[in-house]
Symmetry: C2
Subunit: 212 residues, 2 copies
């Protein structure tokens, strides 16, 4: 009998703590309809590779240095993901912009997490942007990836307060706590086929749509 | 003995429900260091005028139609506010852009409330912008007014969830509930001399700074 669970490919460049949170949610049974088909890093020294090996997840290095341009790299990336049967791509600290080629290969099936309440503070250094603006709340956003930078349809968000004396580090840590909660939750909803994208809005069905 | 409380001038164009929330906070003793010196409306039929009269607050109509341009109107507005000894200007649904002249006459002493978590969704129809973007949380922001549109230093914010099936009306109502809470609170902090602006960040002292 074929495996009916959703095959997830995770892309990383470094530590992979969000990857770990998703692995944990799979292992403790919170996510029941998914499995990680492969972890791909563009850096050979990413600690996430070690995490993957510990959990018997295929850990692959695809170094961007071997490719002449972004499109060539992304072609190899898409081929590798398809080869592993990946249906959902999860960006977990993957420090590269994706080409339209990648986005088109996985329509509404690439997720990213951003450490701010999008559309506020897109791009790099979101926590520092928030502190400099002087907002009272920030948070994180799981969204589907589209062609823009941090512009895709929002799946889940979580809010954290900004406290007097906060630094980039203390705020980042507070936001991380919420990331580890909502990223696995977004993956869980996707795997349970409970996310439906309509325009740029993501509807979450209250019951599994395959069991109406 | 001179009145030591902060003289507040409120500017409105319509219903004035945020004005009412501030009046209530003054009357029930939540704000102890302020008083409303005058309410000014640019529209003769604003319901807020009636509210003011009920509370024996000077209610003044300053119709913009009588003035050739924004600067001329704002000159009259500044003169009227100064005449009433106003130290803090509170915009409560005042549907006019302020000229630099107004902003310079009351540096860091004009407050506005915006129905979104700025810097997200500035300008008009903030609730509709939030719904169309598909965010999971929105809210409101009390900020000092500067030359830009909804760009001034943030004083307080409050967060509300966006629920499945929300309309502009249902979301606006939920945000209003928070507006009536944080706008009086921001006025209270100002009157107690607990707000300090540094660059574009607003620091809130934990104890009244006049009682160290």
């Amino acid at each position: 009998m074929a495996d009916q669970t959703v095959a997830i490919g995770v892309l990383v460049s470094g530590n992979g703590s969000n990857f770990q949170a998703i692995v944990d949610a799979l292992e403790n049974g919170r996510i029941t309809d998914g499995r990680i088909a492969c972890l791909i890093s563009n850096k050979a020294d990413a600690y996430a590779l070690e995490r993957a090996r510990k959990h018997n997840i295929p850990a692959i290095v695809l170094d961007h240095k071997g490719y002449p341009n972004r499109t060539a790299y992304d072609q190899a990336l898409v081929a590798l993901l398809k080869e592993h049967g990946v249906q959902l791509v999860v960006l977990a600290g993957f420090m590269r912009l994706l080409s339209p080629l990648m986005v088109e290969a996985f329509p509404h099936a690439i997720m990213n997490i951003h450490p701010a309440l999008l559309p506020a503070f897109p791009g790099l250094d979101a926590q520092q942007q928030a502190l400099e603006y002087g907002v009272r709340y920030s948070g994180c956003t799981v969204h589907f990836v589209d062609i823009g930078t941090d512009t895709g349809p929002v799946i889940l968000q979580a809010v954290v307060p900004i406290l007097a004396g906060d630094t980039v580090e203390s705020l980042s840590q507070r936001i991380h706590g919420e990331e580890y909660r909502i990223y696995p939750e977004a993956v869980r909803l996707f795997c349970a086929n409970r996310l439906r994208v309509e325009g740029r809005r993501v509807h979450i069905s209250t019951a599994p749509s395959d069991n109406p």
